[in-house]
C-alpha cells in the first residue's frame, strides 16, 4: 500500500516535472515575446507620437470635435490616446502570440479570431474619426451659413446636421464591427426616421412663422427694405 502511494506520487511528480520541462521553454519564449512586444510597442508609440505631432494631429482632432469630447471627459490629447492605444494593441498582440506558443488549443482559436478582428477594428476607428471630422466640418459650415443669412436658431440647425451625420457614421461603424448588425440597422432606421419626422413636424408646425418670414424676406421685400439692406462693401 505504502509502496503504491509512493509510486503514484513519484509518477505524478515525474509527470509534473515532464510537463513543466515540456512547457518551460515555451513559457520562456512567451516571456521573451512579451518583452520584445513591450520594446517594439514602446518604440512604435514613441515614433507614432512624434509623427502625429509632426502632422498636427491634435489640430485635426480639434477640427473633428474629438478634442472637445476628450477635454470634457478629462482624457489626454488625441495624439496621446492614439499612441497609447497602438502601444497596448501591439503589446497585447505580442502577448497573445506568446500565449499561442504555449499550444493551448482553445486559446489559440480565440487568438486567431482576435487577429482576424483587428483590421475591422482599425477600419471602424478610421471611419469614426473621419466621420466625426465630416460631421464637425458640416455642422460648422451650416452654423456659419445660418448666422450670415440671419436664420433663427443657427445652433439648432448645426446640431441637426451633426446629429444626422453622426447617426449615419455610427451605424456604419457598428456594421463594420459586426456588433448587433440587425439591432443597429433597425435602430438606425428608427432614429433616422424619427429625426426626419421630427424635423418635418418642427418645420410644419413650429416653423410656420419662420417659413412665412423667410419666404417674405426672400420674395416680397419692400423697396424701403431693399434700400436699407446693405452698404456696398467693396
Amino acid at each position: 500500500m505504502r509502496e503504491m502511494i509512493i509510486s503514484e506520487l513519484t509518477q505524478a511528480m515525474q509527470d509534473l516535472a515532464r510537463g513543466f520541462a515540456h512547457y518551460l521553454p515555451r513559457l520562456i519564449v512567451m516571456l521573451i515575446l512579451a518583452f520584445l512586444g513591450w520594446l517594439i510597442a514602446y518604440l512604435v508609440k514613441v515614433i507614432l507620437r512624434s509623427f502625429l505631432r509632426l502632422i498636427k494631429f491634435d489640430r485635426l482632432s480639434e477640427n473633428a470635435g474629438a478634442s472637445q469630447l476628450l477635454n470634457k471627459a478629462a482624457l489626454p490629447s488625441a495624439t496621446e490616446i492614439v499612441s497609447r492605444f497602438v502601444f497596448w494593441l501591439t503589446l497585447f498582440g505580442f502577448i497573445l502570440l506568446g500565449v499561442s506558443v504555449l499550444g493551448i488549443l482553445s486559446l489559440q482559436e480565440e487568438i486567431a479570431r482576435f487577429f482576424l478582428f483587428l483590421p475591422r477594428l482599425f477600419a471602424a476607428v478610421l471611419i469614426l474619426f473621419f466621420g466625426m471630422l465630416a460631421a464637425s466640418f458640416s455642422a460648422r459650415a451650416a452654423l456659419l451659413a445660418a448666422v450670415n443669412a440671419n436664420i433663427p436658431s443657427p445652433r439648432l440647425l448645426s446640431l441637426a446636421v451633426r446629429s444626422i451625420i453622426m447617426v449615419f457614421v455610427l451605424s456604419v461603424v457598428f456594421e463594420d464591427l459586426g456588433l448587433a448588425e440587425q439591432t443597429m440597422l433597425v435602430a438606425f432606421g428608427i432614429a433616422f426616421g424619427a429625426l426626419m419626422l421630427g424635423l418635418a413636424i418642427a418645420f410644419g408646425i413650429g416653423g410656420k412663422d419662420l417659413a412665412r418670414r423667410f419666404l417674405e424676406q426672400k420674395f416680397v421685400r419692400t423697396k424701403k427694405e431693399q434700400d436699407e439692406d446693405e452698404l456696398s462693401p467693396l
Binding site: 489640430r59 480639434e62 477640427n63 466640418f137 460648422r140 459650415a141 452654423l143 456659419l144 451659413a145 445660418a146 448666422v147 450670415n148 443669412a149 440671419n150 443657427p154 445652433r155 424701403k224 427694405e225 434700400d227 436699407e228 439692406d229 446693405e230 452698404l231 456696398s232 462693401p233 467693396l234
Partner: protein, 422 residues
C-alpha cells in the same frame, strides 16, 4: 511667357486678325446687358478723344452671359459715336468677345485679358468693370495715360464715393495693405485699373492660377504683385462712382475675394511685409479724394443684431480663432445697448490681425475663418456709421487715417502671433 493654351482657337484666330496693339481695354462680363452698352460707348468715346492714333482693341471676356451682353459689345460700331462726336479714329477700334466659361469667374476673365494683352503686345492695358455706370471718357484717359506716357506699371483708381460706400475697403483692405505693405493704395481691390504690358506678363506668368476656385480676387493679387515686385504704382482720381447695388448675401463672397485673398497672400509675402514699417504715399494724378455726404438710409439695428447674434452663436468658432481677451471684449460690447455700442478701432484691428494669424495657422478651415469675420465686420460697420453720421468729409478722412495708424501701430502684434508656433 504664358502659352495661352487655355484660350479657344476661335479667340486666338480673332487676336491674330487684330495684330499688335498699343492699348487694350479688358471688359469682363456676365449678364451685364443692362449696363454694358453705355459703358462700351464711353470706352470708345474715351479712346477716340484721348488716343485717336493708337491701335486699340476691346477684349470682352464673358462668363456665359445669356442676355446678349457679348453681342452688345461687339455690335457697337465706331459709326454709332459719330453723330455726337467731333473726333474721329485714325485707326480701327476692334472689339472681340470670347466666352471663357459657362460660369463667371473674375480671375479666369482677368487671365484671359492678360493673355490677350501679352499675345497682342499691348503697351498699356486697362480693365473696366461692367457695373460702373458712372464711367466717363475721362476715366479711360486717367487709367491709360500714366502707363502709356509716364511709364507707370499700375494705375490704381480713386473715386469720389459716399462716405458709407466701400466700408470693407476703408475699414480693412486699405488700412491693412497700407500697414503691412507700406503703400497707401486706397483701392487695393480694384474694379477698374490700368497696367503695363510688363506687369501684365509677369503677373500672368508668376501668379498661381487655379482652375478649381476660379481665382476670384485676382484684382487684389495684381496690386500686391505690383507692390512686392517693385513696380511703379500710381493712383488716378477718376471722379464720382455710384455704389453698386448689393444684397446682404453679397458680403461673404466679397470677404472671400478680398480679405481671403489678402490673408492668403501674407504667407508667401512674409519676407516683404515683415521688413516694412510705416507707410508711404504713392504718386497721384487728378483731384484729391473726397467723400459724398448726402443722407443715406442704413439699417443700423440689423447690423448690430447680426453682430450680437454672431458673437453669441459663433462663440465656439471664435474660441479657435481669437485670443481669450479679444473674445471676452467682443462679448462685453455685444451686451451693450444700441446707444452705448461701439466697436473701437483697436479692438477691430486686433480682431483682424488675430483672424489673419488664425488663417495662416489654419486653426480651422480657412473659408470658415473668412465667413466668421462677416458678423464682426457688421459690428464695425455699425460703429463707423454711428461715428461718422454727421461727420464732414474731412472728419471721415481723419477717422479713416486714425484707423490706418492703429493698423500700423499694432503691426508688431501680428508679427508676434505670426512667428509664434501655436
Amino acid at each position: 511667357m504664358e502659352d495661352g493654351n487655355f484660350l479657344s482657337d476661335d479667340f486666338l484666330r480673332q487676336l491674330i486678325n487684330v495684330g499688335e496693339v498699343d492699348i487694350l481695354v479688358g471688359l469682363p462680363t456676365h449678364n451685364n446687358a443692362k449696363t454694358v452698352g453705355p459703358i462700351v460707348h464711353t470706352i470708345r468715346n474715351g479712346i477716340l478723344r484721348g488716343f485717336p492714333r493708337e491701335r486699340t482693341v476691346i477684349i470682352n471676356a464673358d462668363g456665359g452671359s445669356r442676355d446678349g451682353t457679348s453681342e452688345l459689345i461687339t455690335g457697337v460700331s465706331i459709326d454709332d459715336l459719330r453723330p455726337d462726336s467731333t473726333v474721329y479714329a485714325l485707326r480701327t477700334l476692334h472689339a472681340i468677345s470670347t466666352k471663357y466659361s459657362s460660369t463667371p469667374h473674375s480671375g479666369v476673365a482677368l487671365r484671359t485679358i492678360l493673355a490677350a494683352a501679352e499675345l497682342l503686345r499691348a503697351k498699356a492695358c486697362i480693365v473696366i468693370s461692367p457695373e460702373s455706370e458712372s464711367i466717363t471718357p475721362e476715366w479711360i484717359s486717367g487709367l491709360i495715360r500714366p502707363v502709356y506716357y509716364d511709364g507707370f506699371d499700375l494705375v490704381s483708381p480713386t473715386y469720389q464715393r459716399h462716405k458709407f460706400d466701400g466700408l470693407l475697403t476703408t475699414n480693412l483692405l486699405y488700412p491693412m495693405v497700407r500697414a503691412l505693405y507700406g503703400v497707401r493704395i486706397r483701392e487695393a481691390y480694384m474694379s477698374e485699373f490700368g497696367f503695363s504690358g510688363r506687369l501684365g506678363s509677369q503677373f500672368l506668368e508668376r501668379n498661381q492660377w487655379s482652375d478649381s476656385n476660379g481665382d476670384n480676387g485676382a484684382e487684389l493679387r495684381v496690386t500686391l504683385a505690383a507692390v512686392t515686385g517693385g513696380f511703379r504704382i500710381c493712383q488716378s482720381f477718376l471722379g464720382k462712382k455710384d455704389p453698386v447695388e448689393r444684397r446682404a448675401a453679397d458680403l461673404v463672397p466679397a470677404l472671400r475675394q478680398s480679405v481671403g485673398v489678402l490673408f492668403s497672400a501674407l504667407e508667401p509675402d512674409f519676407k516683404v511685409w515683415s521688413a516694412i514699417s510705416g507707410s508711404q504715399e504713392v504718386p497721384a494724378t487728378g483731384d484729391d479724394l473726397e467723400f459724398l455726404l448726402n443722407p443715406l438710409r442704413v439699417n443700423r439695428k440689423r447690423l448690430r443684431d447680426m453682430f450680437v447674434s454672431g458673437v453669441s452663436e459663433l462663440e465656439s468658432v471664435f474660441q479657435s480663432i481669437l485670443s481669450s481677451s479679444t473674445l471676452a471684449e467682443l462679448k462685453r460690447i455685444a451686451g451693450l445697448s444700441e446707444e452705448e455700442f461701439r466697436y473701437p478701432a483697436e479692438l477691430w484691428v486686433r480682431t483682424v490681425y488675430e483672424f489673419a494669424a488664425a488663417y495662416q495657422k489654419s486653426v480651422i478651415n480657412r473659408d470658415h475663418i473668412i465667413q466668421a469675420l462677416a458678423p464682426l465686420f457688421r459690428g464695425r460697420v455699425f460703429t463707423f456709421v454711428v461715428e461718422n453720421r454727421n461727420a464732414s468729409a474731412n472728419d471721415v478722412a481723419n477717422n479713416i487715417e486714425g484707423l490706418c495708424l492703429e493698423f500700423e501701430r499694432l503691426k508688431p502684434y501680428l508679427l508676434e502671433m505670426w512667428k509664434s508656433k501655436e
